[in-house]
Symmetry: C2
Subunit: 139 residues, 2 copies
DNA sequence: CGCATTGAGTTGCATGTACAACTTATGCCC
DNA sequence: GGGCATAAGTTGTACATGCAACTCAATGCG
């Protein structure tokens, strides 16, 4: 049972792979989770937290707290949205600069991660995550 | 950048897949991480925490806390090992019974996870985790 | 023998994560 | 208009996780 468990395997992968990135980013006081969030906000312009959370299949409460941290750092700003308690996230210049600085570190980590997974493995992860991502959208 | 990031993808996979298992196991007040630990202890007989942590590529401190929780539940026992502050973990009958009860729930989750990943995807995850696991042993 | 090193666990602190329950604002239906 | 349902965030609580620093025991070396 234990050997086949898919959860055990993805947990192992996450511990290993995200460790590689976090180690690389540590000098910036930044984690991969935060970097990804930041890049999404930078790319997709003003977005609502809920939208990002849905795309990442992340709990809204988790999103809320992650956003809070990054706002405290001044990397992004939270402003009231159109209606109700809607919010929009916008990247700040401090956040853009951080992404610039993170890029080379990220690249190094990406190389190391690829080496760990193997070229085939890395491609598989891409495919699989896409598959899962698409299914989540159709819910 | 963000789209290629392997860490982002494995994080997404973990959130999604482990969620499936945790939802299934919730009636037992058990998480997948705990179940995996419990099964390892059950299978590999008296083992040291450090050994299990190494196999799972998990920080010893994380292991320490996870063990503590499960000991509190009476699922396993911790006894002093041969020397120094070495410890050995042993499954308790309460733990064995819990595994029995968890089995059918786990199977359901495994099916759902396979459906999400696709048959090919599930196999790939197996292969990749094996590859990574072996590389960790050779360190 | 005495001290430095190493090994195994633990603890302080911080992040990432989820579920449940709560707060507010909108919108809808009668 | 008055409730009722829904949508978006927040907060309480708990687990999973890692790093740094610490405790203690064993070991080795001069």
């Amino acid at each position: 049972m234990v050997d086949e468990c898919l959860a055990r395997r993805v947990l192992l992968l996450t511990r290993t792979i995200s460790g590689v990135y976090n180690e690389a980013l540590r000098p910036l006081g930044l984690t991969v989770a935060q970097l990804n969030l930041l890049v999404i906000v930078a790319k997709r312009g003003p977005v609502s937290p809920g939208e990002v959370a849905k795309r990442l299949n992340m709990e809204k409460s988790t999103m809320s707290r992650n956003v809070r941290l990054m706002e405290d750092h001044g990397w992004l700003s939270v402003s009231p949205g159109q209606s109700g308690r809607a919010q929009v996230l916008t990247i700040e210049s401090k956040g853009r600069k951080l992404i610039e600085k993170a890029l080379p570190l990220w690249q190094g980590a990406q190389e190391r991660a690829k080496a760990l997974l193997g070229e085939r493995g890395a491609r598989s992860i891409h495919t699989i995550a896409d598959t899962v991502g698409k299914q989540l959208q159709h819910e």
